[in-house]
Subunit: 338 residues, 2 copies
DNA sequence: TTGAAAGCGCTAACAG
DNA sequence: CTGTTAGCGCTTTCAA
């Protein structure tokens, strides 16, 4: 007898043979149960279970055009902001019996389109988190496959975004309330959509509150990016710094500590994202939290609805952010008033 | 004209029609180029590119049995240990033109088998990272699909593991060198294979060095798990604690700090994994690093080789770990000698 | 070297 | 309610 090999998977046909019915009947029993006689259906279902039958989704997808999979693209899983989102999305998708395939672009903009194309073929819809690609390229990608953008907006495409501007504005108001008059802002990656939002929020709130704003350039959205901003921060006469995100804020705080500059004693630092680490360090980091679970569910729901509708109805959802006041911004010890 | 709809994908047949050849020829031009006349082939390839033809991998997979995808299962993407591994695996797979589908089990053992089954259907091979499931169940899963285990071993199944025991032994030797005589160990999840290894390493090294070992029970492999271990640690007369992993170590350090117990002044703390955060906090955490990139590449290489061979040749690779000495374990200030 | 034909596992008309 | 027929997009015999 020919060598064992991989246990040949049981197919729908095997079940049909065993049940003494046609393949179509089995198919129906599985996908449109109400169109099959109750007794036959039960027999088939039992048999299928016994034989350990598992439908081949690829084959099914070939004909229905649906795979039961969703594709999820993220720039960098090592950025602690994303895992939370990924998990929320996965959890919600699983509830609806969709499986999620996660792909990491490693912050490589050039890689995005190709990975999307590959992914698109094997999923019913795409969730694109913080895609860095240019609007034109992004639009192209969204046209080929039902897509929901997360943490980025684009005209005529459904999206779930965070109220980034509101978030940084709240941060600025909080700092103003603490007595700060001169604020520094350390920006993120050049192409970042959310970065632009955050800067806008900082600007308007500073203007409104009559604070002096020092824009301290842009750095990589990482811990190292934060440490690299040290000199810029020291050179500017600011008493508080808002960073593009928590990682940058933490890197900066660390660099300040290395120079024995007290946070928040001599300078306050705030971030954005509320990554888990923000609450684990001392002083704990004041930041802006994104309701990840809510955003993830919303994104999945949106996408699923699109899959149902023939003519996808664009919806752009904004979820509010929440200020998390913690140690790194107060109480203000001695604000220098020079 | 009928509503736009999704741009219908160009199929192999479209290319064939355009080139004036049969589908088979196009297929061959794409997959076994040497079996097609050079000029026809070139014409086909050009045309395919022009039309933007992308093979439907699902359809191809239906017949070849290969999808060009690898499946990757991880217990928790929010655990900062995993993203590094995931990224390494993805990078290496992409080089070989394989796409990686990541699925997070959310530390839910019961979920593992089902997710694996779903995944298995759509991939050529499986990479299972730190699976928590019981050996029997795990074996079942590995029998259905070519599989490589990462950070877990099982008889007659290929795997890439870390020298966990060596790592904790080195840690203990380091602590002994610092003058510690009474060591505490805070364990991880009950079913954890690597946890067992780490404990073993601690035990043998303590025995060898003549140190007193206090096994302080098991906690969740999280920051909260670490803080919850505080009382146990305080109750034991130890001057140094080795935790199951960095997250636990950090949680514990934090809890100690809250009680104004100096680390490493009054008690040293060490972790395992060398997550990014270990280097970002003060005092920075002494820990054991895993060569993630190396392990990831090795795992993918192993799996790819299996896919080539008819009779998978089991290989179990162990990659060495490296001690990272940092602030949290020294220099020892005043070890109490009572 | 190429084409015709068959079929991977499944679903979707269409009859019955 | 059920079986038959056809075919999703692709590869792979088998002949020519």
């Amino acid at each position: 007898m020919p060598g064992g090999g991989e246990a040949m998977a049981v197919t729908l046909r095997d079940v049909a043979l065993a049940a003494g019915v046609s393949p179509s009947t089995v198919s129906r029993a599985l996908t449109v149960p109400e169109k099959v006689d109750e007794r036959t259906r039960e027999r088939i279902l039992t048999l299928a279970a016994e034989l350990g039958y598992r439908p081949n989704r690829a084959a099914r997808g070939l004909i229905t055009g649906r795979t039961g999979n969703l594709g999820l693209l993220v720039p960098d899983l090592a950025n602690p902001f994303f895992p939370g989102l990924v998990k929320a999305i996965q959890a919600r998708a699983l509830e609806s019996d969709y499986q999620v395939f996660v792909v990491d672009t490693d912050e490589d903009v050039a890689l995005e389109p190709e990975l999307i194309r590959q992914l698109a073929k094997q999923v019913d819809g795409l969730l694109l988190c913080s895609p860095r690609m240019r609007p034109a390229t992004l639009r192209e990608a969204t046209e080929a496959t039902p897509t929901v953008l997360v943490n980025r907006a684009l005209a005529r495409v459904s999206s779930v975004t965070f109220e980034n501007g509101e978030g940084t504005s709240a941060l600025i108001r909080h700092l103003a309330g603490l007595g700060h008059r001169r604020i520094g802002f350390v920006g993120g990656p050049a192409g970042s959509w959310s970065g632009a939002q955050r800067l806008r929020g900082v600007r308007t709130a500073c203007a409104t509150a009559g604070l002096l704003l020092h824009e301290l350039g842009q750095v990589a959205p990482t811990f190292e990016g934060g440490t690299s901003a040290l000199e810029l921060v020291l050179r500017a006469p600011v008493t508080a710094v808002v960073a593009y995100n928590d990682l940058v804020a933490i890197g900066l705080s660390q660099a300040l500590a290395e120079r024995s500059i007290e946070v928040p004693g001599r300078i306050s630092v705030a971030g954005f994202d509320d990554i888990p680490m923000a609450g684990m360090i001392r002083p704990s980091l004041t930041t802006v939290a994104m309701p990840l679970a809510r955003a993830g569910s919303a994104a999945v729901d949106l996408l699923l609805r699109h899959l149902g509708e023939p003519e996808p109805r664009v919806r752009q959802i904004q979820v509010p952010t929440a200020l998390r006041v913690r140690g790194s911004t107060g109480p203000s010890l001695g604000l220098d008033e020079s």
